[in-house]
């Protein structure tokens, strides 16, 4: 048998031939690239695609209207994790340590009435009613990657506004160096609070500049609707470049403090969970590798896990906050 190195336009089977309209699209794309607008055109096209995914509301809870975000990094174009996976597989130890426990037990959580006390080193301390908080900033949809410290990840369309909107209003004093999030610990509604797994209430914290970063989202909804209880209703934080546990759920107080807060996981195992807990493939958890992750609902059963990105892929937006820091030491 002869081997023909290049037969160019010779086709044995008609189906090998690229249909004309597809071929023409390629020309359009090439033209756009030639005009220097290729990247933009692609982004717009992919963005439309991402938006089309979110328009399908699961129809389980009250709608929470929002506009598309303009915050850089706030709209990843990756495939969304299906709503049933997002809301049936997560950690919320107040409802139990199994990842199916939150969905199973969070039904008893009452999210009205609800207040969030904003206090500490600020000029305007106040107790906010949840209805006030809902109206405080313009709701934006943000599609973020979520990387759990356990080695799995999701892509979730959250709804909320930058925490900085609230912080600016309460006017932190010069002593405010950190922000502490205190979350609900009500043994009557939360069966896990009786356990000794962690110290309750669950406390998380950020440095003030981290809390002020526009990506840090005060979150009220997901998938076009208000948050389901198991995902941290009625209000939670989402800090997409840090491991998931840094994002406190069902927040009841936001405190501005001078000293680095002792966070719950840090108290439970300080050698394993540092204050920063930035997603970092180069710094392993003492007991497992953080170099790769399994994307829930997307990577097939037999697919290789995907590489974890520095700062969960948000390095352009947040990297400068850690310039000069030894991230192995401040893990």
């Amino acid at each position: 048998m002869h081997f023909h190195e290049d037969q160019g336009f010779v086709h044995r089977v008609a189906s090998e031939i690229t249909p004309r309209d597809v071929y023409d699209q390629r020309r359009t794309l090439l033209k756009a690239l030639a005009a220097g607008s290729g990247g933009l055109a692609l982004a717009a096209w992919a963005g439309r695609d991402a938006l089309a995914q979110t328009s399908a509301r699961p129809g389980k809870l009250a709608a929470l209207p929002s506009a598309r975000t303009t915050t850089p990094g706030g709209m990843t174009l990756e495939k969304l994790t299906p709503y049933p996976d997002v809301t049936s597989y997560n950690n919320f130890y107040e409802f139990g340590t199994d990842k199916s426990d939150p969905a199973r037990h969070a039904g008893a959580l009452k999210t009205r009435p609800w207040t969030v006390s904003v206090e500490g080193e600020i000029r305007k301390p106040r107790i906010y009613d949840i209805e006030e908080l809902l109206k405080l900033g313009a709701m934006e949809e943000r599609i973020y990657r979520m990387r759990c410290v356990e080695g799995w990840s999701m892509v979730i369309p959250w709804i909320g506004y930058s925490l900085s909107e609230l912080i600016k209003r309460v006017e932190p004093t010069g002593n405010a160096k950190y922000v502490e999030f205190v979350t609900l610990a009500d043994q009557k509604m939360m069966p896990g609070v009786g356990s000794r797994v962690l110290q309750w209430p669950y406390v998380e914290g950020l440095r003030l500049d981290e809390a002020m970063n526009p990506l840090t989202l005060l979150t009220f909804g997901l998938y076009g609707e208000v948050l389901p209880n198991q995902s941290g209703a009625p209000v939670r934080a989402v800090v997409p470049w840090k491991y998931g546990f840094k994002s406190g759920k069902s927040i009841v107080a936001i405190r501005f403090v001078e000293k680095e807060p002792r966070t719950s996981w840090n108290k439970a195992a300080s050698s394993e969970y540092g204050f920063y807990s930035n997603v970092n493939p180069a710094v392993d958890h003492p007991r497992w590798s953080q170099a790769s992750e399994r994307r829930i609902g997307e990577d097939g059963l037999f697919q290789k896990k995907r590489a974890t990105l520095m700062f969960n892929g948000y390095e352009p937006q947040v990297g400068q906050m850690y310039a000069g820091m030894d991230l192995k030491k401040f893990f």
Partner: protein, 235 residues
Amino acid sequence: MSAMSSVRPDHPIRTTADDPAATLRPGAGKRKSALLHPAAKPTLFALCLLPFAWLLYGAWADTLGANPAEALIRSTGDWTLRFLCATLAITPLRQWFEAPALARFRRMLGLFTFFYVVMHFLSYAWLDQSFDLDAILKDIAKRPFILVGTTGLLLMAPLAATSFNRAIKAMGAARWQMLHRTIYGIALLGLLHFFWMRAAKNDFAEVAMYAAIVCVLLGYRVKRWNSQRSLAARA
């Protein structure tokens, strides 16, 4: 009951007349005949395969939840522990209920324990590590609980390999039994593996349950050996 008869399940006592327990206890004869029924072993075999079939179906039909890989790894591990407990329960139950015919099922349960631990390791190696040998070796070195689990699996392999009758004959019953007593150590390794895995979440309720079962099953043996030794010392 001598060591030999307990390790040769294919030579069960065929008549109730041979077993004094059958004449002593009402209903014992009926129970025995069920254990000796020709369909007993195939039925148990099918039952032992059910969890595996259910997991296969779940993987195919996508009913294993948001993280099917994790679900497969965890449930094959759970089933390994359950089969290990069932295997270790045969001797105490046999002696307690004076039902020597129970020994017929011990080998099958032991082999299914091995089957599930191999499935457990394969799902870890495949689904979690993509059969990347280098990554697996690094993981074994990094995570003590993986090391303990792998050790348990490796120790179990010789037991599975010498489970047939000719191996018993070739090795001699005493040596064979000595080798197969490593299962007690393997059970403790399995518990440690599970304990360490759950230690990440400080969640020990299930670990405590398995530990209690294994404690009872091994404690029973220790107690029996002690009483036999003191009997021998008196005689």
